[in-house]
């Protein structure tokens, strides 16, 4: 089918002018063999640091093929641009700068992405599958009449994505029929791109639709944050994780897990049972409703291995289970299982390391 026929069939344009083409038509006009993708990654950050998952999202974008544009919506571009401009596969850093972006809120970010896309359409709009991506991208998708795809773990084709459902008990292959594909990518499924490559992206300012952002800022204000500061590695990106469950029996006993983690240089996680019992704060929860992680080594201490917990950690490279219940389901996924009383085994292990 010739480009001309395609444009006629689309029925929108009498004149074929490249700038007025929709993304698919534009792709056809630029390459006859292969679709040229225009990939936008929306960076997650706290106006100080780019969140690591952004580099996983860039890797997911690159998998589709083509160079990646990264959008920074911020009031502190000077701090952030240099953290992303040398990242592998990034061709352009787009900066939307406004004082109202001091607060990283979905209502203020969405109009910028929409405005940018409407002026010069992307084929894919991508963010990491974390609380930022989950908040912002659907807000953009609804306005574009697009069905977003959350938690992507694999890309079969530019329009075909794999995502876990039922807490990871099944994998769905989803083919998007929308003009622009809007999705969030799981950090555990895409290896971060190199952040200090030889390549250096060009930096471009983009327009901020100020009236809309001001309108949005009236609806929602951030009044505070309580972040759990810790010396330990970040749970979602740690290469080793030690998690505790109900078997620890008390908040005080959880100290055993912290000590073992310290010896291993590991992050500390928990099952929902441990969180609900008040042993540890809930941002340490691993599972369907908590964090999805895939470290090199996962040590489950006193965790039975309910479906909801397994869905958060079963992609770990090596799983170790320490549990005194020989029937505990955790042993079915553990590479190395030690059937023992954790109150004896864990201190012994800590000591011998």
């Amino acid at each position: 089918m010739s480009l001309f026929n395609f444009a006629l069939r689309a029925g929108r344009h009498n004149l074929v002018i490249a700038n007025h083409l929709n993304p698919i038509q534009r792709a056809l006009s630029t390459s006859q063999v292969r679709f040229q993708q225009r990939l936008l990654v929306v960076a997650d950050h706290n106006n100080e640091t780019i969140t690591p998952i952004t580099f996983n999202a860039i890797a997911a974008a690159n998998k589709i093929g083509g160079s990646v544009e990264v959008l920074l919506i911020t009031n502190q571009p000077d701090k952030l641009v240099n953290q992303v401009e040398k990242a592998e596969h990034v061709s352009k850093v787009l900066v939307a700068n406004h004082t109202l972006f001091e607060q990283v809120l979905a209502e203020r970010m969405a109009p910028v992405i929409l405005n940018l896309h409407n002026k010069s359409p992307f084929t894919h709009i991508i963010a990491g599958a974390n609380s930022f991506g989950a908040n912002v991208l659907p807000r953009v998708a609804a306005k574009l009449n697009v069905r977003p795809i959350t938690g992507v773990i694999g890309i079969n084709a530019p329009d075909t994505f794999l995502r876990p459902i039922y807490g990871g008990q099944a994998i769905q292959t989803y083919k998007s029929k929308d003009g622009v594909k809007i999705f969030t990518a799981r950090a555990t499924a895409f290896q971060k791109v190199e952040q200090e490559s030889a390549n250096k992206a060009t930096v471009e300012q983009v327009e901020v639709p100020v009236a809309e952002v001001e309108e949005a800022a009236k609806m929602t204000q951030m009044v505070g944050q309580e972040l759990n500061k810790s010396e330990r590695p970040d749970l979602t990106s740690a290469s080793r994780v030690v998690s505790g469950g109900r078997g620890l029996k008390s908040k005080e006993n959880f100290e055993l897990v912290f000590k073992l983690a310290e010896k291993l240089g590991a992050a500390v996680g928990a099952s929902r049972a441990a969180v609900d019992a008040g042993y540890v704060p809930n941002d340490m929860q691993v599972g369907q409703t908590g964090k999805m992680i895939a470290p090199e080594l996962y040590v489950a201490v006193g965790i039975s291995g309910a479906i909801q917990h397994l869905s958060g950690m079963k992609d770990s490279k090596t799983i170790v289970a320490i549990n005194k219940d020989s029937e505990a389901p955790i042993f079915q996924v553990a590479d190395l299982g030690l059937e023992a009383d954790l109150f004896k085994a864990v201190p012994e292990m800590t000591e011998k390391l």
């Binding site: 609380s131 908040n135 807000r139 609804a142 008990q169 769905q172 292959t173 090596t318 190395l336």
Partner: protein, 251 residues
């Protein structure tokens, strides 16, 4: 002004069931499998009822979209304290989050709703999209994964769970909220309330009544089992465990 609350209730396979993928890879086995209200939706219903008990809310409308069997979950919501319910019969087509958001947006307008409470995600499709899609369609503020909610004059004071901790927000009303596990502990419906719920109205609608054309998009190509882990080995003591971990280079 007391709030009129719309609360979403999805009928899903019970959270404790081990899901099985159908041999034809067209979905998962649902026949003869225990279903119940999505756990996050129970929390949303509970929060709505508590707001009514505090006289912050005047009316609670429970919504579900699915087969006739979804009436069960609406009855549960009514027994927990919702005043009326709307069932959108979606026949055999599996609606996607955007379809649901469009239906909810129409009900919000028809019923003059000023607060929508939803679960943070359904435990079947794990999308977590309806709340942000809906708030976008309505141009309302949103707060996802909320663990604390209070009405203060003409706005809501919210605590939401984010990566690494908590975020406190001030939201103007009307608003869309998605509820996280720690927002509350849902009540059990008592027998008298279950009996009373039978008299409460469930209005049935079709998607097209709400201006939504559900067509089989064919967007889900197949559903498969996740890669299975190979069965591991048991070790007899800590020494053997440490030796094996060293052997494979994990410590």
């Amino acid at each position: 002004m007391a709030l009129r609350i719309l609360v979403g209730c999805k009928r899903v396979i019970d959270y404790a069931v081990k899901v099985r993928v159908r041999p034809d890879k067209a979905g998962v086995v649902t026949e003869g499998v225990k279903h119940s209200m999505n756990p996050f939706d129970e929390i949303a219903v509970e929060e709505a009822v508590r707001l009514k008990e505090k006289k912050v809310a005047s009316d609670i409308i429970a919504f579900s979209c699915g087969s006739q069997a979804s009436k069960e979950v609406l009855r549960t919501a009514l027994a927990m304290g919702a005043d009326q319910a709307i069932l959108v019969d979606s026949d055999k087509v599996q609606p996607e989050p955007l379809d649901i958001a469009r239906m909810l947006a129409k009900i919000v307008q028809d019923e003059k709703i000023n607060l929508v409470l939803l679960g943070k995600q359904a435990i079947d499709d794990d999308s977590g999209q309806v709340a942000p899609l809906l708030s976008s369609l309505l141009n309302w503020p949103q707060a996802l994964c909320v663990s604390k909610l209070e009405k203060n004059g003409d706005h809501l004071d919210i605590t939401r769970e984010i990566d690494g901790g908590l975020e406190m927000l001030k939201l103007s009303l009307p608003a869309v909220i998605s509820c996280d596990l720690r927002l509350n502990e849902p009540r059990y419906a008592t027998l008298p309330n279950i009996m009373k719920a039978k008299k409460k109205p469930i209005v049935e609608k079709k998607p097209k009544d709400l201006g939504v054309e559900l067509e089989s998009m064919g967007t889900v190509e197949r559903i498969e089992d996740p890669p299975q882990r190979e069965g591991g080995t048991r070790v007899k003591d800590v020494d053997e465990l440490l030796a094996k971990l060293k052997e494979i280079g994990r410590i």
